[in-house]
């Protein structure tokens, strides 16, 4: 069943992917009510001991692990056992799901209505469903969908219900609980709630991990959670969180189950519901607290066309096969298994590697729409300073070129086969008419209108330059979020292209050093598997050589005549990030005071960037994205160029100006890579 290679053979072109079926088609032709009330009898795990949500709770409460931790907490704090036990019960009460078929049926009915209004189609690879069905019977299953929208987990449950598969229990952030009624509804449709941060809370951790493990081990239901931890506001995959993955792998390590199947699921939206919401959030308008009334207000979205959704259920990945030869399970032989133990070094790195591979598996099966390519091209065009936009036929020509290139790089592109390219382009543009403006046969981003389409009702008078900039940024970041969907396709070649650009010579070693530096620098920004530098370099070389853009000899890396266009495109793709990191470095060198705290960092750097943008010293408006700023800070912290001083002020940042400076110069190609590497050491 489970393939050993979670992702990617050498030539991505050879990648075989399943076909899709539209599930909404049937919904449009038959009764939703009958559908919601139909007989639902899913296949279940062969080792399942049937249990109700209530029994599950008592199993957790009686578990050895909880007993142990409860007594440990009592010993440490001097609290009474009853007292702690009480706390455990209430944590569990707060956390536990109450999956009910009736609620699921309710959702099945209403979501059918909603989906039919919002989306043209919801396409699912049915072979993936069949694989999942098989996997569910054999081993406990963990569903790992990508996370781009609130829609994701309702959609997942809806799909599983549609295909008569066991409904998952879903780890959801506590913020949903704020929405009283909805929170409870979600709970009854299988969500269980976890606090966002509980780092030091031993008791909470114990309850939580035991709860998840109990469900998993008993095969109660597939466990679903988001590897990325939260919705990606940028449509880039986020650095995976390891906590839950560790928990679901643990029963395998300890021999409590024979195997666990991890099923990466890629959900791609042609248009994301939260599009401009995300952009605003990234620009510093704080995220509205989830509330029921907020959700109702959001009903406006119901009147718009959000295109189609593609859901790809990936190949189930067997934890057992992943761990073969990497994890020595004997390490658990000498301590009772119920005593919680920090994962050892090798377990930790194994879980981390697996998480990256799974996220990459998600990325690889993300369906890309033509618009994603158009957004990339339009953004590059906008930056190149052509105020009048690009001619429609030129855009079409470029899109066709990029289509072919991305396919050669293995993109999972859904480009309608039998439609003329110009039609494909114009229909894509019309779906995203809020982001583009077409006039006189020329296309450009809709930057002119202040306020933008997503922020109506605001006073338009007396717009300051800063406000105008921010409203433009909303459009640009929205657009960038679509471009980002394709980033994983171009990332490695783009890193190589930039490395060639910044390297001081054509020597292969130089280029590699430069590549390795950039890769290291950006490893908080993109999904780059730890320790796979050489592999990534080779993959990038392979792709660029294959497409004739590069000649790689024993010693040298040479750009060919016809490779120029490709390399320009690729470097431009990475350029905003390069510049963003540089500007953050500059900020830290120039403006950071002694007392800069981590909390103040984002507003301060934003102010700095706005200043530079208005002064015309910066080209990329998307540098305003707080995501990029956070990631660059994380990278600098990781590299030791900035240190966090723990103590009085919560997280004061201490900047190593020399090192930050040299990193900035290296990013800008002013310093050879070697130096920066030394500086890091």
């Amino acid at each position: 069943m489970a393939s050993k290679a979670v992702y990617s053979q050498r030539d991505p072109m050879l990648k075989k992917r399943d076909d899709f079926e539209d599930i909404l088609e049937e919904r449009r032709n038959s009764s939703d009510l009958r559908y919601a009330l139909r007989c639902y009898a899913p296949v279940v795990y062969k080792g399942l001991c049937p249990s109700k949500a209530g029994t599950l709770k008592s199993m957790v409460l009686q578990s050895d692990q909880l007993h142990y931790v409860i007594h440990q907490v009592c010993r440490e704090t001097g609290r009474a056992v009853d007292d702690v036990q009480e706390e455990v019960s209430s944590i569990l009460e707060e956390m536990a799901h109450r999956l009910q078929l009736s609620t699921v049926r309710f959702f099945a009915f209403t979501l059918s209505k909603v989906f039919k209004t919002l989306f043209r189609s919801i396409c699912v690879n049915e072979e993936g469903i069949q694989r999942l069905q098989q996997a569910i019977q054999e081993h406990p299953v963990v569903l790992l969908p990508s996370h781009r929208s609130y829609m994701d987990f309702l959609l997942m449950s809806y799909l599983l219900y549609t295909y008569d598969l066991a409904l998952p229990v879903i780890a959801a952030g506590m913020d949903f609980m704020g929405m009283k009624f909805v929170g409870e509804m979600l709970r009854m449709s299988g969500a269980f709630f976890i606090r966002r941060s509980f780092g030091g809370d031993k008791l909470y951790w114990a309850v939580f991990s035991e709860y998840v493990k109990t469900m998993l081990k008993n095969g109660f239901a597939p466990v679903e959670f988001f590897l990325e931890g939260t919705r990606s506001r940028t449509s880039k995959s986020l650095t995976p969180k390891l906590g839950l993955l560790n928990i679901v792998m643990d029963p395998f390590f300890k021999g409590e189950v024979f195997d666990v199947s991890l099923v990466p699921v890629s959900i791609s939206y042609e248009r994301i519901l939260e599009e401009s919401l995300y952009a605003r959030e990234l620009l510093g308008v704080p995220k509205p607290k989830e509330s029921t009334s907020g959700l109702i207000k959001a009903r406006k979205v119901l009147s718009e066309d959000y295109g189609s959704i593609h859901v790809y259920f990936g190949q189930p990945v067997s934890v057992r096969s992943l761990a073969e030869g990497r994890v020595n399970r004997c390490q658990f032989n000498l301590i009772p298994r119920h005593i919680p133990k920090k994962p050892s070094e090798d377990i930790h790195s194994f879980v981390n590697d697996s998480a990256y591979r799974l996220v990459r598996a998600q990325e690889e099966n993300m369906v890309l729409k033509p618009w994603v390519l158009l957004a990339s091209l339009l953004l590059q065009n906008q930056v190149s300073g052509q105020k009048r936009g690009i001619a429609l036929d030129e855009l079409t020509e470029q899109a066709v070129w990029l289509r072919d290139l991305s396919r050669q790089y293995g993109a999972f592109l859904h480009w309608p086969e039998h439609t003329p390219p110009s039609e494909v382009v114009s229909s894509s543009l019309s779906l995203h008419r809020g982001l583009v403006r077409i006039s006189e046969g020329r296309v450009q981003l809709a930057l002119g209108q202040t306020g933008g389409p997503a922020a109506p009702g605001e006073p338009r008078s007396a717009v300051t330059p800063e406000e105008e900039l921010l409203s433009q940024a909303v459009i640009i970041l929205s657009c960038a979020s679509y471009r980002n969907q394709a980033l994983h396709v171009f990332l490695r070649p783009a890193l190589l292209a930039s490395a060639i650009h910044t390297a001081s010579s054509n020597k292969k070693q130089e280029v590699f050093n430069s590549f390795s530096f950039l890769r290291n620098m950006f490893s908080n920004e993109f999904i780059l598997c730890p320790g796979a530098t050489v592999q990534d370099f080779e993959e990038a070389c392979y792709l660029l050589v294959k497409t004739g853009a590069l000649q790689v000899t024993q010693q040298d890396v040479l750009v060919t005549e016809r490779g120029h266009r490709t390399l320009v495109f690729l470097t431009s793709m990475l350029d905003p990030f390069l510049q963003g990191y540089q500007v953050v470095c500059r900020f830290l060198c120039e403006e950071a005071t002694e007392a800069l705290t981590e909390k103040q960092f984002i507003p301060a750097v934003r102010k700095f960037i706005i200043k530079h943008l208005l002064a015309g010293r910066l080209r990329y408006t998307e540098v305003l994205s707080s995501d990029l700023q956070k990631n660059s800070l994380a990278a600098l912290l990781r590299l030791g160029a900035v240190r966090k001083i723990k103590g009085a002020e919560q997280g004061t940042l201490k900047v190593n100006t020399v090192m930050v400076n040299s990193l900035e110069d290296t990013l800008g190609g002013k310093l050879p890579t070697q130096k920066a590497v030394i500086a890091r050491l």
Binding site: G47, K254, G255, E256, F258, D259, N328, R329, C330, F332, N333, P336, R337
Partner: protein, 633 residues
């Protein structure tokens, strides 16, 4: 035989007697005089080597009564008769001469095997296919002068070149022989062994001690790289009980005696050792010591390390033994523990003083059906917690329960079959047990009648708490009988493309269920991945309980039609299964030993320092590697 002091020929006593008959009673041949219990001089001295040969249970020419390429006695085997019914030949066992109607269907359904597809063994040993012996002439010359019998006959040598691992038997059936010993010697007493070891050291000859030949760890295989002459030292003629000390309840026994003889002879004077490994018909006392054997009734009598009071072993450095028979000593590390488990790498165990017990007044079998394996294990755990385990308690999983069922002999009366039907109805319909999940525990109680009955009640009460239903003595007894015939069954399987083996481990209580599930699943998966065309039989049972854990036995067999190298596939699967055992907290072996089969895992099992300790003992005791079977290290 069983002395039933409480009189009356109740059913239970009848069964108890039968039980003893199964174990020992098939040896109703005349007992030779000098094996009576008395201290005796070494037989070799002065007597002609061949005189009393025919009267021994284990003759020098073992092939005369035992199969040369399969398990056990030549006259006892399973076969499918002309009507396609399974039957067991011979007269030795309770099952002998009986028709087993359910076996064919079970066999065909479980393995997808067919009686049409046969894989018969090479019937006769072709001596010319055996390598001619590499002899050390000087050694042979000097050996001759001692008068100790020896042989260079191909049949004798081949017989001692193997244990009973699947690959060994498979090769024999195909008539293939690897490196075999170059000669066989039969010492008659301790002094003979001393002479042989001296000569071997003097002439640099490799010695491989051979007891019952029931090894399942490749321990008896001759290392192919061995260039010296290999001499198999067969202890079977050192089979006397030298004395019995009724005051201390000990017996001093020559180490070549096989289990059934030891029990039979002791029984004659009202004693027993209580040590009953499944192989007890053929395995020898010296072999038990050398592998750290375990007996079925260890809950009462203990394992071999608990039973042994004194050991005499001949090594190239001389004889090792303790100076007294104190029941426990604090005199540094126990030197017995260098000997027990040394697997023939240090020397030959020649004489052992063992604890003996008066024969139990009363024996009773029993069985309990559980709704599922989990409940069964929970019950065994509770029994162990309360330390009230009967002489033996074993829990079979569902597959084995079905297997045991398939081995029910033809019932003679309509009434019995009606009763069986009723029982089945009660358990599956009335009690709601799922026939595909239920499992059965077999029990054996021993002791005085009062206590046995009391004990029995206690155990059944515990079982009831775990949903267990008493399922009768007959089921229990059949369970134990299976132990003795299962090895014969493998030979039947091998006639029809089915190969299999059992292996064991010991594991802490909390891991028992997990290890059973995972190892069974691993076997199924490995078979599939390696191209086995039919789902394998992958089953287990818990055979011993301890305070801190249990011994688990796995049985694994598959139909190898369509495979070009079935033995290789088999070995890969077994290897994977062992890895799985270790990854699940199981031990490398509970009582089979390491031999050469499991050597690769020794270092991780005992750590580097542990290996070093064992190595340095070997280096001191046997610097020239005279005992060169290369087991263990």
């Amino acid at each position: 035989m069983a002395s039933n002091s409480s009189g009356g020929s109740s059913d239970r006593q009848r069964i108890a007697q039968q039980r003893l008959r199964i174990i020992a009673g098939h040896l109703q041949r005349p007992v030779d005089g000098d094996s009576a219990i008395l201290a005796a001089e070494c037989k070799a001295q002065g007597s002609k080597p061949d005189t009393s040969r025919e009267e021994k249970t284990v003759p020098r020419r073992r092939q005369e009564i035992m199969k040369w390429n399969g398990w056990g006695y030549s006259d006892s085997r399973f076969l499918f008769n002309k009507k396609g019914q399974a039957e067991f030949t011979g007269k030795r066992y309770r099952l002998s001469g009986m028709i087993i109607p359910g076996l064919k269907d079970w066999f065909e359904c479980t393995f997808g095997a067919s009686l049409q597809h046969k894989t018969p063994a090479t019937p006769l040993l072709n001596s010319s296919a055996v390598q001619p012996p590499t002899l050390n002439e000087a050694f042979v010359e000097e050996l001759k002068s001692t008068g100790i019998p020896f042989s260079q006959d191909a049949e004798d040598r081949v017989f001692r070149a193997h244990g009973h691992c699947l690959h060994e038997i498979f090769a024999l059936r195909e008539g293939k022989f690897g490196r075999v010993p170059d000669m066989v010697v039969w010492p008659n007493c301790h002094n003979d062994v001393v002479k042989i070891v001296e000569l071997a050291s003097k002439h640099n000859v490799c010695l491989i001690p051979y007891g019952g030949g029931t090894s399942v760890s490749s321990a008896l295989e001759c290392p192919p790289e061995e260039t010296r002459s290999i001499v198999s030292l067969d202890t079977s003629q050192m089979n006397r009980i030298l004395w019995v000390d009724e005051k201390n309840l000990t017996a001093h026994v020559e180490a070549g005696i096989v289990g059934q003889d030891l029990e039979r002879l002791l029984n004659e004077s009202g004693y027993c050792t209580g040590h009953e490994p499944d192989s007890m018909e053929f395995s020898s006392l010296g072999g038990w010591v050398a592998t750290r054997a375990s007996g079925m009734k260890k809950n009462i009598y203990g394992n071999i390390e608990d039973l042994v009071v004194h050991i005499k072993m001949v090594t190239p450095q001389g004889v090792i033994e303790k100076s007294c028979q104190g029941p426990r000593m604090s005199t540094g590390p126990d030197i017995h523990h260098f000997i027990m488990g040394s697997e023939g790498t240090l020397g030959v165990v020649t004489e052992v003083t063992m604890k003996i017990r008066p024969m139990p007044e009363y024996q009773k079998y029993g069985s309990v059906v559980f709704p599922n394996f989990e409940q069964g294990v929970a019950c065994l755990r509770e029994v162990a917690r309360q330390r009230c385990a009967p002489a033996s308690i074993r829990l079979m999983d569902n597959e084995q329960f079905k297997f045991g069922h398939a081995l029910k002999p033809q019932v003679s009366s309509i009434f019995t079959s009606f009763l069986d039907g009723l029982k089945k109805f009660y358990i599956t319909k009335f009690k709601g047990f799922d026939p595909n999940r239920l499992c059965v525990a077999t029990l054996l109680f021993e002791g005085d009648r009062e206590k046995v009955l009391q004990h029995e009640k206690q155990v059944y009460d515990i079982a009831a708490k775990f949903g267990g239903l008493a399922a009768g003595e007959d089921n229990g007894q059949r369970g134990y009988m299976l132990t003795f015939v299962i090895a014969y069954l493998r030979d039947l399987g091998m006639d029809y493309y089915v190969i299999g083996e059992s292996f064991e481990t010991s594991v802490p209580w909390d891991r028992v269920l997990d290890i059973c599930r995972n190892v069974k699943a691993r076997i199924v998966r490995e078979c599939k991945e390696r191209g086995v065309q039919f789902p394998p039989l992958s089953t287990c049972r818990v055979t011993q309980t301890y305070d801190a854990g249990a011994c688990v036995y796995f049985y694994f067999a598959f139909n190898y039609r369509g495979l070009s190298d079935p033995v290789h596939v088999y070995e890969q699967v077994e290897h994977a299964a062992r890895e799985e055992i270790l990854a699940n907290g199981g031990s490398l072996s509970h009582h089979h030993g390491v031999g050469k089969l499991r050597k690769e895992w020794m270092r991780e099992t005992v750590s580097n320092v542990g290996m070093g300790m064992l190595k340095s003992v070997k280096d001191y005791v046997d610097p020239n590697n005279i005992f060169g079977n290369r087991n263990l290290l």
